[in-house]
Amino acid sequence: MSKEKPKNLSIKKEAKQRSLKTHQKVTNVIVYIILVIVSIIWITPFVMIVLESFKGEATCPTDAIIPRQFSLKNYKALFNIGVEKKDEIKFFRWYMNTLIMSCVCAIIQTFMVLCMSYTLSRMRFKGRKFLMNFMLVLGMFPGFLSMIILKKVMSGWNMIGENAVWGLIIIYTASSAMGYYVSKGFFDTIPKSLDEAARVDGATRATVFFRITLPMAKPIVIYTLLTAFMGPWGDFMFAKYIVNNATDGMNVAVGLQNLIATSEGLAAHYTHFCAAGVLVAIPVTILFMCLQRYYVEGVTGGAVKG
């Protein structure tokens, strides 16, 4: 949908050179062109992934973007239809693992973040400054370091390998309350007058939280649910370390990276990777687009003051 250049621009320009309006029009056209080019740059890689996922002729990277013969072979191979036993891919299992993880994580993480952010934003209690600074300092340590010990503890509770899903859920959600900035920023914008009024009528802090603040915090709740849901889809480092080579316990990121890590793997599974990428991206994108209004509001409203 590239905008074609207006053909008789030069003649119009002389006629309206002086007036501010044409100056305005010219800059607008330039801005439109820039926007078109920039959006093409941003969208092309995804278009290429989709195109390559339909490539029928070879599974290794070839020099053509548009496939010579379209076929759903790659999508079928992902679900082991028409594929010998020895080339099977456990994509469905990885996909379900990640789905379970993201749903459970979304719920628990939202609960954690809301508790922390509401308390820090609304209530003035001793040690509030100390707690915020303490969490800031904790955030400065590289996360991977604690993974080494957490893997041993998780293996003690038999939550690595096949049932790495539960181990990872605990690890993702346990200290997720440290990411409270955005929602705290949002709670700061809710005026306090309503709370005082309710408090005066004898409502306990809990009722204030559940009946007044929470309903008004719908955007931030959805924002946190969404970001928490997106987390497990993108995590690679922790998942690879905890899964300990058990293909049944992998999430999508580790599984696909494992598939195309070796050069033989890349040659045999490159287009399968593209197809898997499309299958993973579509549902997450659709969910994201529906809740985009809240996401934008959360980011613009909250993140700024965090």
Partner: protein
């Protein structure tokens, strides 16, 4: 402010404590280490004694199909031994990944896993491999070829089962591009590739395993001395020499060529810019055949010429191995050993050969008709003549040795090549930052005490400028020398001079090497004694008219017991003790206290191998 926050942590910690109770409940069961019953039936060979169900995890190579084949092979094993039920979780994992995951946490690692020989030393150091039982070791030595048996041994102890002995590399090439007569000259091959616009795939900058071929061609070597715990004690490496520079010059011919592609993947033949030549091993045969079809061909590596002299490229030859993780439960450990033995037997090796083309290490499997006829294995056989059996090498050598290739790629002058080799040598020497006294210490090394290829250093202790070795078991015909700092730079022979001939042992039995060294003249005197002031025993007491002041030396007998040199007059009521190294740390009499003589007489005093005093009448 403190009060409120501390209350939170108090509650938090209460929960932590409860979890700790649960957590360490599991933790403390290893304090009362489970000494399982060893009472068991008679013959270990019939496996009915091992009946039971076992849940195990197995990591095998990631090449397509190997995991499924292993599952069927395990099922066959269970069929052959009805009592044993194994539910195995088999995963396809790259070799490097399986070795580092094992070492990352041995406890969570797989029970049975495959790895390449270059990972063996690291795995032994991390206690990730269970030693093989003596009977199993004999069986393995009989069944497999010598190089694969040696590959499975570290410091004289066997830690794993050889599975293939084709872990070497040779040259696959595209018949339609490469003419037959160019096959033996690297320069022509590079020219052909460049002319055809195709690539020459050989992993020079990304793997030391391949680039060492140039150094073996010019006669360099890199051998490491390792003790049986897998601790690396020394290296004898002459890569940093003129031959080394020639090797790098040869390597530069390929490194600097436009066609050079640092990869060894069989699929390179069908890559975007296809290769005409790929240096790789039998694990790529399937991919190469698929890519090249009837242009598929393989031969040994070419030769290169530098300053008029031609050198045929060498190569490493090694093995893929199966290892068993140390188990706490005896029966499970025994079952795993039997399963590993089964998986490395002739039948399984042949099945693997048919599936992915891996050359077997089993002797009669090698005699199989298809194995002989296989093009790749024939090329490997041709290359075997120049191949160097891969010794046990320090884990980080593989990273360090990539250095000279990476620097050689950008180097233009000989000085730069020399500098690259110097950094290489300084770094590997750095791996053994010996302490000062380790450098000064003298050790006995030779073919004795079961160690036939001069690998283990027997430490010596210095007491007022004389070096004493512990008791060494000799057999007539053994030979040894003494050397300083576990390296051959300073060593003394039987003639007392530096670099002199070996000290030959003429009669069987134990002996102590006693050595005095004169630093100024760099000469020394080696003596083989039956007694020793440090390790030897002597008798002291109220005997022979002396009161606990004079030591009567004892000599070590071929059976390891001790006997005084002469017989002594002993009176009833005399008391004495036998003590070691003229000190009281180790001394025997009648158990802890002194030995009292009952009947007078002239006796030799004997200290038996289980430390009891006996009087033998003259």
């Amino acid at each position: 402010m403190k009060k409120r926050i501390t209350k939170f942590i108090a509650l938090a910690m209460a929960l932590v404590m409860v979890l700790a109770l649960a957590g360490c409940g599991k933790g403390n069961n290893n304090k009362n280490n489970n000494n399982n019953p060893t009472s068991s039936p008679d013959t270990p060979s019939d496996l009915s004694a091992l009946a039971g169900t076992y849940d195990i995890t197995v990591w095998v190579s990631e090449s397509a199909g190997v995991a499924d084949l292993t599952k069927t092979q395990i099922a066959d094993f269970c069929k052959d031994n009805p009592g044993i039920v194994i539910n195995a979780k088999v995963e396809g994992v790259t070799e490097a990944e399986s070795a580092s995951q094992m070492i990352a946490s041995v406890e969570d690692g797989a029970d049975l896993y495959c790895f390449a020989q270059d990972q063996l030393v690291r795995l032994v150091q991390a206690d990730a491999l269970a030693k093989l039982g003596t009977a199993t070791q004999q069986k393995i030595t009989e069944l497999n070829d010598k190089t694969s048996v040696q590959a499975a041994t570290v410091g004289g102890v066997m830690y794993c089962y050889p599975m293939t002995s084709d872990n070497g590399y040779f040259m696959f090439y595209d018949k339609s591009v490469i003419p037959e007569n160019h096959l033996d000259s690297l320069e022509d091959l590079i020219a052909d590739c460049e002319k055809a616009g195709k690539m020459f795939s050989m992993e020079l900058t990304t793997s030391a395993w391949y680039n060492a071929a140039f150094f073996f061609a010019t006669g360099c070597k890199s051998e490491w001395t390792i003790d049986s715990e897998g601790k690396i004690t020394g290296v004898d490496d002459n890569f940093n020499s003129d031959n080394g520079v020639i090797a790098l010059k040869g390597m530069q011919k390929l490194l600097k060529s436009k066609a050079f592609n640092s990869s060894s993947a069989g699929s390179d033949f069908s890559a975007a810019v296809p290769s005409a030549i790929v240096v790789s091993g039998t694990w790529s045969t399937a991919a190469v055949k698929e890519a090249l079809g009837d242009n598929y061909a393989a031969t040994d590596l070419p030769s290169f010429t530098v300053d008029g002299k031609t050198y045929h490229l060498g190569s490493y030859s090694g093995c893929k191995l199966i290892g068993v993780k140390p188990q706490n439960d005896t029966k499970k450990s025994a079952v795993l050993q039997q399963l590993a033995l089964y998986l490395s037997n002739e039948k399984c090796q042949l099945e693997r050969f048919k599936l992915v083309g891996w050359g077997p290490s089993n002797l009669n499997a090698q005699k199989n008709a298809d194995v002989q006829a296989d093009v790749a294995l024939a090329a490997l056989a041709k290359q075997a003549e120049y191949a160097v059996p891969q010794p046990q090498i320090h884990g980080s050598w593989w990273d360090i040795a990539k250095v000279y290739a990476v620097s050689a790629k950008d180097a233009n002058t000989d000085e730069e090549l020399k500098k690259a080799l110097e950094t290489y040598e300084a770094t590997i020497k750095g791996l053994f930052e010996m302490s000062v006294n380790e450098k000064e210490a003298w050790t006995v090394i030779g073919s004795m005490n079961g160690d036939t290829n001069w690998t283990t250093d027997i430490p010596m202790v210095c007491k007022n400028d004389v070096w004493y070795s512990e008791a060494i078991k000799f057999v007539a015909g053994d030979a040894f020398k003494v050397r300083q700092g576990k390296s051959w730079d300073v060593n003394i022979g039987s003639d007392g001079k530096a670099g002199g001939p070996n000290f030959d042992v003429t009669e069987d039995g134990y002996g102590f090497v006693v050595f005095t060294y004169d630093k100024a003249t760099n000469t020394g005197v080696i003596k083989l004694e039956k007694s020793s002031d440090v390790y030897g025993f002597s008798v002291i007491g109220t005997i022979n008219g002396d009161t606990w002041s004079k030591d009567l030396t004892m000599e070590i007998q071929p059976d390891g017991s001790w006997l005084t040199k002469e017989a002594y007059e002993l009176k009833a009521g005399d008391e004495f003790k036998a003590r070691q190294g003229l000190g009281w740390d180790v001394s025997y009499g009648n158990g802890g206290d002194n030995y009292k003589v009952e009947t007078a007489g002239t006796y030799y005093i004997k200290l038996t191998t289980d430390n009891k005093i006996e009087l033998i009448a003259k």
